[in-house]
């Protein structure tokens, strides 16, 4: 067994893997942000709150309807996505002609409302969500003990991320979407209902956040502020990656999870600032972001 900077390589592998797990959440969330931004030109500040809603939806489903983890993984994102659709129809669509900043302000306000309501009704101490039985336990990989659930998180988010990428970049529907982003009037002339497409895109982006929330529920404490802490980091991830590219959002998300994981080993005190530092450096070197299109 060899050592890297005084850390046994085996332990390092463990930390890398863990970084990848946390990266899955960054990837899922920044992917949702990128999808919404691509279509609506809005930065969805309530993304964190919707992630939290996903976790709470899973908790409430279990408590009141007895619906377990697996059904919740489908039902909760659908419910929260529906909520997103309503938001888009009743509020966001009035803002498309205005400065993009109003979208940011509106969704910020929404985030405050959602968090406030959650606090009022569910308390702020947080609630436990029990791990599904089928995913309890874990395997000893030699260099670390990998809980089954963590392995599942990586696999599931990889599948969802690349599924989304495939749907947008490689299918006919995705082609319409991309075309509508470039030139909505022209696409409408082809007989495609662009407003409905926009609505569904927002709903889908929100559902992605909620999906991440359900995935997070068994690991983290389900609490009203779980989203607001995370969303600012995800913003930095998005700035680093550049919003233009779906694949960029995914890769940056996973990559930064690993960077953060390594910081936890070598310099734990800085582990919650490292992403911001990376952001500052990227801004100096490549202001458009690593995968950004625009100079």
């Amino acid at each position: 067994m060899f050592e890297i900077f005084g850390i046994p390589s085996m332990a390092l592998f463990g930390q890398l893997l863990i970084g990848l797990i946390n990266g899955s959440f960054y990837a899922l969330l920044s992917l949702g942000l990128a999808v919404i931004f691509g279509m609506l030109n809005i930065i969805n500040f309530s993304h964190g709150a919707q992630y939290m809603m996903g976790a709470f939806a899973a908790y409430l489903l279990l408590k009141f309807t007895g619906l377990g983890y697996w059904p919740a993984l489908i039902v909760a994102p659908l419910l929260v996505g529906l909520f997103g659709v309503v938001i888009e129809r009743t509020m966001l669509r009035y803002l498309y002609k205005l400065d993009h900043l109003y979208g940011l302000l509106l969704t910020f306000g929404l985030a405050l409302i959602i968090e406030g309501v959650a606090r009022k009704n569910l308390g702020s101490a947080g609630l436990p969500y029990v791990l599904p039985d089928s995913l309890q336990g874990g395997h000893n990989l030699g260099f670390m003990f990998l809980p089954n659930y963590r392995a599942w998180v990586i696999v599931a988010s990889l599948v969802v991320c690349f599924g989304t990428w495939f749907a947008i970049e490689r299918t006919r529907l995705g082609a319409y979407l991309r075309a509508a982003t470039e030139n909505p009037t022209l696409v409408r002339a082809f007989g495609i209902n662009v407003p409905v497409m926009i609505t569904l895109t927002y709903g889908f982006g929100v559902a992605l956040a909620a999906f991440a929330g359900v995935m997070a529920a068994p690991i983290y404490n389900v609490s009203p502020q779980m989203g607001s802490d995370l969303i600012i980091v995800v913003f930095a991830v998005v700035v680093i990656g550049g919003m233009g590219s779906i694949l960029g959002a995914i890769i940056t998300g996973f990559g930064l999870g690993v960077v953060e994981g390594l910081t936890k080993v070598f310099f734990p005190e800085a582990s919650n600032t490292v992403i911001f530092v990376v952001m500052a450096i990227v801004l100096l070197v490549r202001p458009a972001g690593l995968f950004g299109r625009r100079a």
Binding site: F108, L112, I113, R119, A236
Partner: protein
């Protein structure tokens, strides 16, 4: 001092020429100044002093969003770190209050230079996200370093003696100092906006590429505006730390950045008096609602949504539009 207002206040779009309309800004300024001189006899002076600090903070923020079109979502950084250094200088170094406030303001200016030169590399929503992320980084930093006292903050900050002479523990003396700082800060911002420099800023807000094509180094203008805004925010924070004798994490955390956006939005983006009205409205609301603390978040969020959807011009903006005057 009043003469410059008379020169600058141009008759707004086709309004009938009248003494009142031409001088609307001057008149409102006089009303505000007189009001603030009289107010402590009727209300809790501590509250008014705090409100003036927030009003100056909001005015500083408005300089960026209202006149350059840059939405900073991280202004708590300058406000909060200004407060920390001011409190630290007064408490640990034993500086007199005016020097302590200068220390805090200078710190904020320095932070503004660093953060500003990073943030102006991107526009629009990216700018907002970058400022937010940098502010959050400095929040974590505040949580960990010794200087800030972590969760406890810096408490029991002495108000001290102004210029080593005037005892600021006297509420009246403190009030006069805060009022003077507030009015001076306000007039300074007014000067910036109405100077040739301010005209260039507005040109950048309206159409940056055109300003560039006219030969203006817009990056430099934006950076200067950013630093000025950060400095004034720091001045507000530094003063607040001396007034309430406390600097805490609340002042550097992101909800504070959100709050100043809210104050300015409620009052009216890009109006000179809007941020002041907005900050008083929000503070009175918080003060009245502190008993039902749990709803504050929801109400603030609802105000945000209502402002964006229903009256984007804010209170002062709407009034100004109704009366067709400049405010």
């Amino acid at each position: 001092m009043d003469t410059q207002f008379e020169i600058k206040a141009a008759p707004p779009h086709g309004a009938s020429p009248s003494v009142w309309r031409d001088n609307s800004e001057t008149i409102l300024f006089v009303i505000m100044a007189v009001g603030l001189i009289v107010a402590p006899f009727f209300t809790y002076p501590l509250f008014l002093m705090e409100a003036m600090c927030f009003a100056l903070f909001a005015c500083a923020f408005n300089l960026l969003i209202g006149y350059v079109g840059l939405l900073s979502f991280g202004h708590a950084l300058y406000f909060g770190w200004g407060a920390y250094l001011s409190a630290y200088a007064a408490k640990s170094w034993g500086l007199t209050p005016e020097l302590a406030i200068l220390t805090g303001t200078a710190t904020a200016a320095l932070c503004g230079v660093v953060a500003g030169s990073l943030a102006i590399r991107r526009q629009g929503i990216y700018f907002a996200m970058i400022t937010l992320a940098l502010a959050q980084m400095m929040y974590f930093f505040a949580l960990q370093v010794k200087l800030t006292g972590g969760e406890d903050g810096i408490q029991a900050v002495p108000r001290g003696f102004l210029f080593g002479l005037i005892d600021l523990r006297n509420e009246a003396a403190m009030y006069v100092v805060v009022l003077a700082i507030f009015l001076a800060g306000f007039l300074f911002i007014y000067r910036i906006i109405h100077s040739p420099f301010g005209e260039v800023l507005k040109a950048i807000r309206e159409n940056e590429p055109r300003a560039i094509s006219l030969g203006y180094k817009t990056e430099r203008y934006k950076l200067i505006a950013f630093v000025l805004s950060a400095t004034l925010a720091g001045l507000a924070g530094s003063t607040k730390a001396i007034v309430v004798q406390l600097a805490s994490l609340t002042d550097v955390n992101w909800p504070m950045s959100g709050e100043v956006v809210l104050m300015t939005l409620v009052g009216g983006l890009g109006t000179i008096f809007g941020p002041i009205v907005g900050s008083f409205v929000i503070l009175v609301m918080q003060y009245k609602l502190s008993v039902v603390g749990e709803w504050v978040l929801v109400i603030q969020g609802a105000i945000f949504v209502a402002c964006v959807l229903l009256f984007r011009r804010g209170v002062i903006g709407e009034i100004a539009a109704k009366l067709r005057i400049k405010l």
